[in-house]
Amino acid sequence: MNPVPTGLAAAGVLAATGAAVALVLPARWRSAAVGVATAGVGAAGAAAGVAAVSGHGWRAEYPDVLPLAGVSLAVDPLAGWFLLLTGAVAVVVGVYAIGYAGRGGHGPGARGPLALLPVFVAAMLLVPAAADVPTFLLAWELTAVTSLLLVLVEHRHGPAVLPAGLWYAVMTQAGFVTILIGLVWLAAAAGDPSFAAIQDAAGGLSGPVRGGVFVLCVAGFAAKAGAVPLHPWLPRAHAEAPAHVSALMSAAMVKLGVYGIVRLGFDLLGGGPRWWWLALGAVGMLSALYGILQAAVATDLKKLLAFSTSENVGLILLGLAAAGLLASAGQPAVAAVALAAALLHAANHAGFKALLFCGAGSVLRGTGVRDLDRLGGLSRRMPATTALVCVGALGAAALPLGNGFVSEWLLLQALLHQATDAGTLWTVVAPVAVAVVALTAGVGVATFVKVVGTGFLARPRGEEAAAARESPPSMVAGMVLAAAACCALAVLPALAGPALDRVTAGLRAGPRPFEGGAVDLRLAGVGSTIAPLWIAAGVVGLAVATAVMARLAGRPRRRAAAWDCGDGPLTARMEYTATSFAEPLQRVFDDVLAPEQDVDVTPAAESAYLVRSVQYRRRLPDRIEARLYRPLIAAVEVAGRAARGLATGSVHRYLAYMLAALILVLFAAAVR
């Protein structure tokens, strides 16, 4: 029996059951049942993914399911990789949601939102499994609609939710339209909507058609992936959605955009000219830098994580661009390494970002705030959450021992490889890309030191944080699952080697990137190795040994007040906040971020020189949004007002419009 269809069928059945159960069961049991069902959908999808990446292919046609087009499904190793990724995130989120949504009848615990959760996961699993254009578009739209409804779940709780939903709806639908146009154009040019037929025909298509399809679809996919400059929905939607939905969206749904680009660029079109990849690489570098800089100065924990998503997507896109560029320059071996780096980073990001968003949800649940300037002191009050967030932050900061490090190392190896035959362009682009990755990594480290250091350590900075309480066991269990996945990816990435080998080999990208190695990653085509397990063992072992030896040699530890300059006791207001921590970086990148700050000095009444109070305000508007989207929105508004003149309320007028339209169509037909 082939495990792939079994897994997918189980996922479908479980999703339907979960949705039905959510609508029927009383509030007390609802979240537990739906959580288990969602985790089950995820587990089934992940199982199908594992089967697919270990070599079980599957395809099937169901012409009668939908009118006109039917449904066509196929799972190859690439689809399997994304099934596995999505499914694994869903398992984490399902377990987490039991506790998170368990508060009762409002918000994420209500009937509708809970019923939507398994459906959303199933829709995401359907996207990589689609094997023709109509099925793909259907799954894509289903994902978009369910996620939009889930973003809007807490619309009664904050005024920012509705605008966030609006931004997301507009951006995702605009993206859908460009993908629709692109894929339909491609299918029309190829003469058949199935992916297999497109793959065969793509080589014979003309350059402008291929280029046009690539640009349109990649624009849509990049919007879904949250790449700069198509990102403004991301910090809004991720910040305002319930935490488990943010986790699903950021860790899994955003990756579907990446999947779309890989499927289209490397599989359907089978690679392309240099300018495609240069443009994609530019978008990737811009996303990486802009995303991490905004994250570095953000103080809203969930917004920070959302901008960090943009950054990671940028790195993934950079990997894809390097793979495409190297493949077009006749360097298949290194191209495969770059592609593997991008795919592994997608998985790593899914791991740590699911964990971090769940952690942010846990903090929000325990304290009621997500502003880092008001947090702190959680390491005593929420020890489990703190420890788990640290695992996630280690991965997100791409430090050794964390899972992000391995994929960034792979990406750097692909970029550092001086392919002398790859031409001048590569000579010039590679150092820039390396510098961007390095700066991104450096600022990323500072960002996550800020998250852990000001969000969780030392004294609480607000009453909310002082009254924090630990989350229920099911939430912690969900995060533990994610943390375990992160640790596994961090120390034993070689386990993913065979799967990535199959994925890249299936994509005509070239030979397999890895050369065996059970513990260390050996790269084919690039002479570098790394053994994350030994590095982790070395650091942990030496640290423990040092601590034990120092303790044995010295005297016991004592706790005393910190030095307070004799003006004691230290208050929370004397601590560095997230804003002050990021201030030097903000000043260094002043020209990029363009913060709006003003200082109001109120002098005492009797003298202009005695200051009574000083007020400092800082706002960090998103510059790209202000420069690019505000004019666009203004133009749309003007057009909308002008269009209002067409609709006066007169029935005669509307009938006249219809007549005019009919005449116009007939006229066009006659002339043609």
Binding site: L416, V445, V449, G538, R555
Partner: protein, 313 residues
Amino acid sequence: MAAYAVAAGQAVLVAALAPWLLGWMRAVRARLEGRAGGRFGQPWRDLRKQLRKEPITPADAGVFFVAAPPVLMATSLLIAGAAPYVSTRGPLSGVADLVVVVGLLLLGTVALALAGLDTGTAFGGMGASREMTIAALVEPTLLLAVFALSTRVGSTDLAAIVAAGAADPARVISPVGALAAAALAVAVLAESGRLPVDNPSTHLELTMVHEAMVLEYAGRDLALVEWAAAMRLSILLGLLATLFLPWGVATSLHPAALAGATALFAVKVFALGGLLAAGEVFLAKVRLFRVPELLAGSFVLGLLAVLTASVLA
């Protein structure tokens, strides 16, 4: 087995040498400034004294404050064991490459920065914030230097780079080598907190970076932090020495070759340290917000090194 012994020996060598190096640099500086200065062994005596004293944890600090010194020490020891200071035939050459070394250094910095934030004092936060800003801006230079060095060998493996340099000295003294060395030297100054980026001997709140982070440490903890910081300086100077003056690094595990390489390594590191100390006499610390200029300059040097490497290749 012998290779593991070499790695352990290197770690012990660097750990033993680091306080002496610090003492030597202080002595050079004092002599050039016309002071008598302390004895060479003074840092060792300080360490011994501190190690015996009791460590004190601030009231609000948690596990990060306690864990940071051992973690910092562990990263330093691991790099000291993994880098091909004495022999290119260490056991760890397939485990950690230059990128991992950069990452491990950063991991140590992060541990200390979190410890600074964990104390809940303004000084701790200030030091952590500044240190992380500098660390973030140094990364591009470091990795571009790595890029330039790895180009000719086709690998970021440290042992491979050093072995290639030792086999063909002409390739080390070339425009690529000079540019990469200059870029890396600036990055080393920033990473190890020396002038003109940070003043290791200041305790003025306006200027201190590293010292502000570790202000709350006392006793054994302080000893570990200072020792590890001294080791980081030796590690970085050692990297400069082995990458750009690779002569004498043993390419076999023969005892005589190893002994010679050990002696030569010590001489090279002490010479570089003396040079650095002499240079510091003439330097003042630059403002924190002028540091990006310095790092942008070293970044350009690194980029030119990469370009030259690919053009002349």
